[in-house]
Symmetry: C2
Subunit: 318 residues, 2 copies
C-alpha cells in the first residue's frame, strides 16, 4: 500500500519547468528559474555546451576577463548548484505535450512531467571528419573566428567552406592573419557576391575551390593540410598555422522537432522578446534558437529571458 502510494505520487509529480541543456543558456535559465521559486528540473548530458570544446581561453564573457572554457563551465555549474534546482545528468530522447502538460523522456526511459519546457540544447559546429581534426582542436583547428581569430595575428590560416559564414570568417580573419585560404569542395562557392567581393578587396584571401580535404598534420600544433583536387585527383600539401571549419552547424533540435518551427539554418524560431516557440509553454534559448549571433553572454541572456517568461506564463496559466 505504501509502495503503491509512493509510486502514485512519483508518477503524478509535475514540475513547473524542465530545462533541457547545461550550456550557458540552460544554466542561466536554471539560476533564474530557481530564483523565481519555480519547481525546476534541469536535464543535461554534461555542463558547458560548446564551451567544453574550446581549448583556447574565452575572452568575451563580460566581467570574466580571460578564462579557460573549463574554468568558466565550472563557475556556471557551481553557480547553478547554489540554487534550489533538481539536476538529472542524462540525454533527452523525446518531448511531448498533452493538454497543458509536457512529458520529457530521457534515454534511461524515465518520463518527467512539467507545465513548461525550456529547450537550450545548443548547437554543434559540423566537423570535417578527417584525420587530424580532433587531435588539433585548440592547437590550430577552430570552429569560431570571433573567439579564436586574434590568436592568428600575422599567421597563415585556411577557412574551410564556401558559404557566407566561411567568407565572413575569412573577412574577419583578415584583420589578424597575414594570409587566408578559403577552401571549398565545390567548383563554385555559394557566398553572396558582396561577401566574395569584400574578401577579394582585402588582398589577403585566396580561394581554392574543387578540393577535398584529406588530412590535417602537424607537430604540437597544426602545420599543414593535405587536399586532393576533385578533377585531377592530384594531392597537394598546404602549409599553414590554423584551420577554421565553417561548414555549418547542427542545432540539437530533434527532441522537439514536432513542436517548433525552424528557420533556414534549422534553428528553432522563437520570439526574441520572450523566447516563446510556436507551442505555448515551450521556450527556446541559446544557440538552438534563432538568435542572430552565437555568443556565450547572448545565450546566457536569452536563458534569463526564457526563465522569466516561463514565470509569467505559469502565472497566467493558473
Amino acid at each position: 500500500m505504501n509502495l503503491q502510494r509512493k509510486h502514485q505520487s512519483e508518477t503524478m509529480k509535475i514540475y513547473d519547468l524542465i530545462i533541457i541543456g547545461g550550456g550557458p543558456a540552460g544554466v542561466s535559465a536554471g539560476i533564474y528559474a530557481a530564483r523565481q521559486k519555480l519547481d525546476t528540473l534541469l536535464i543535461t548530458k554534461n555542463f558547458g555546451g560548446q564551451m567544453a570544446k574550446k581549448a583556447v581561453n574565452i575572452e568575451n564573457y563580460p566581467g570574466m576577463g580571460e578564462i579557460s572554457g573549463m574554468e568558466l563551465i565550472q563557475k556556471f555549474e557551481k553557480h547553478l548548484k547554489k540554487n534550489d534546482i533538481k539536476i538529472k545528468m542524462e540525454s533527452v530522447s523525446k518531448v511531448k505535450k498533452t493538454g497543458n502538460t509536457f512529458s520529457v523522456t530521457t534515454r534511461d526511459r524515465e518520463e518527467q512531467k512539467s507545465r513548461a519546457v525550456i529547450i537550450a540544447s545548443g548547437s554543434d559546429p559540423r566537423p570535417l571528419e578527417i584525420p587530424g581534426e580532433k587531435k588539433y582542436i585548440g592547437k590550430g583547428v577552430s570552429y569560431c573566428v570571433t573567439c579564436d581569430g586574434p590568436i592568428f595575428t600575422d599567421k597563415t590560416v585556411a577557412v574551410i567552406g564556401g558559404g557566407n559564414s566561411a567568407f565572413e570568417a575569412a573577412y574577419s580573419l583578415s584583420r589578424y592573419a597575414r594570409k587566408i585560404y578559403i577552401m571549398e569542395y565545390s567548383a563554385q562557392v555559394k557566398a553572396d557576391l558582396e561577401n566574395q567581393q569584400r574578401a577579394k578587396e582585402t588582398g589577403k584571401i585566396e580561394l581554392v575551390t574543387n578540393v577535398l580535404l584529406k588530412e590535417i598534420r602537424g607537430g604540437d600544433f597544426v602545420e599543414s593540410v593535405t587536399y586532393e583536387d576533385n578533377t585531377t585527383k592530384e594531392v597537394s600539401v598546404l602549409k599553414l598555422d590554423g584551420i577554421f571549419v565553417e561548414i555549418g552547424s547542427q542545432p540539437a533540435t530533434s527532441v522537439v522537432k514536432d513542436l517548433v518551427d525552424f528557420n533556414e539554418r534549422d534553428e528553432i524560431v522563437a520570439d526574441p522578446r520572450t523566447c516563446q516557440t510556436k507551442t505555448q509553454g515551450l521556450f527556446a534559448a541559446g544557440d538552438v534558437s534563432d538568435t542572430t549571433f552565437k555568443q556565450i553572454v547572448i545565450a546566457a541572456g536569452t536563458g534569463a529571458t526564457a526563465a522569466l517568461s516561463v514565470s509569467n506564463y505559469l502565472k497566467l496559466s493558473t
Copy 2:
C-alpha cells in the same frame, strides 16, 4: 602650419563607433567592438550603471555566484580596459546625425564623430524623494524585487505604487515575505484587474490607497514608514522591514530623443535581433531599450548583439 594640420586631423577624426554608457550593456558592447577591431570611443559618466546602486549582493549574473555590485562593476571595467578602446569619462549632452556621420557632444562641449552609435545609457528607477529614502538604500529600501526579494523572507514589506509593476512586485514578494502592503497615492490603483485579483488570492497582500508617504525611519535598517491620509490628513506610522519602490523608471534617452521611437514605457524601440533603432547606424542596448526584462546578463547580451550588428552595419555601408 604643423599646429593647423594637427588641429585639422583632430577635427576630422571619425570613429567607427561611439558607445554611450558604462553599464553592463555599454561595457559588453565595448569588449565586443574592440574585438571586432572597431575604432571605438566609449563615453560614460561612470561605470556600472544600476549595479552601482545595488548595496546588496548580485546573485544572478551567471558564473559569478554571489558578488557585490561594486566588485562586479570593477570586473566589468577591468575586462573592458584590457581591450583596445578609448574611454572618455563625461556626460553626453547631444547626439546628431548628418549624412552618414554621427556627432556626439559631451558636457565639456567637445564634439566627437562616428559612423555608428550604441546608446546604452540605462535607466534609473524613479525615486520617492522623501526623507530617509537615500539613507536606507540597501538597508531595507530597494528598487528591484527580482534582485532583493529573497532577502525579505518572512518579513513585512511595503511596495510603493499602484501600477502593474507594483502589483507584480507584491505578487513576487508573496513567495518570500510574510506580509506585503501596497501603498498608493491615488484613491484607485491602476493595475490590471487580473494583477489585483492574483495579489488578493495570496492572502498576504493588503492595499493602502489614498496615502502620501512622508518619511522612512529606522536604526541601522528600515523600521517604519510614515504616511498621511490624503483626505483626513491623519498621519500614521507603519512598522515594516523593507520598502520596494515601484513608481516607474526613467530611461536615459534625452540625448537621442529626436532619432528614435519610444514604447509606452519611454524606452527606445529597437529590433530585438539586432538592436537597430529607427535611425540607421544608431543601436540601443540594455535597459534604455525596450527589452522585456531588465537584468544584468540580458543587458550584457544585448550589448554584444549591438556591437556585432554595428560590425555588420559598417561592412555593408562601406
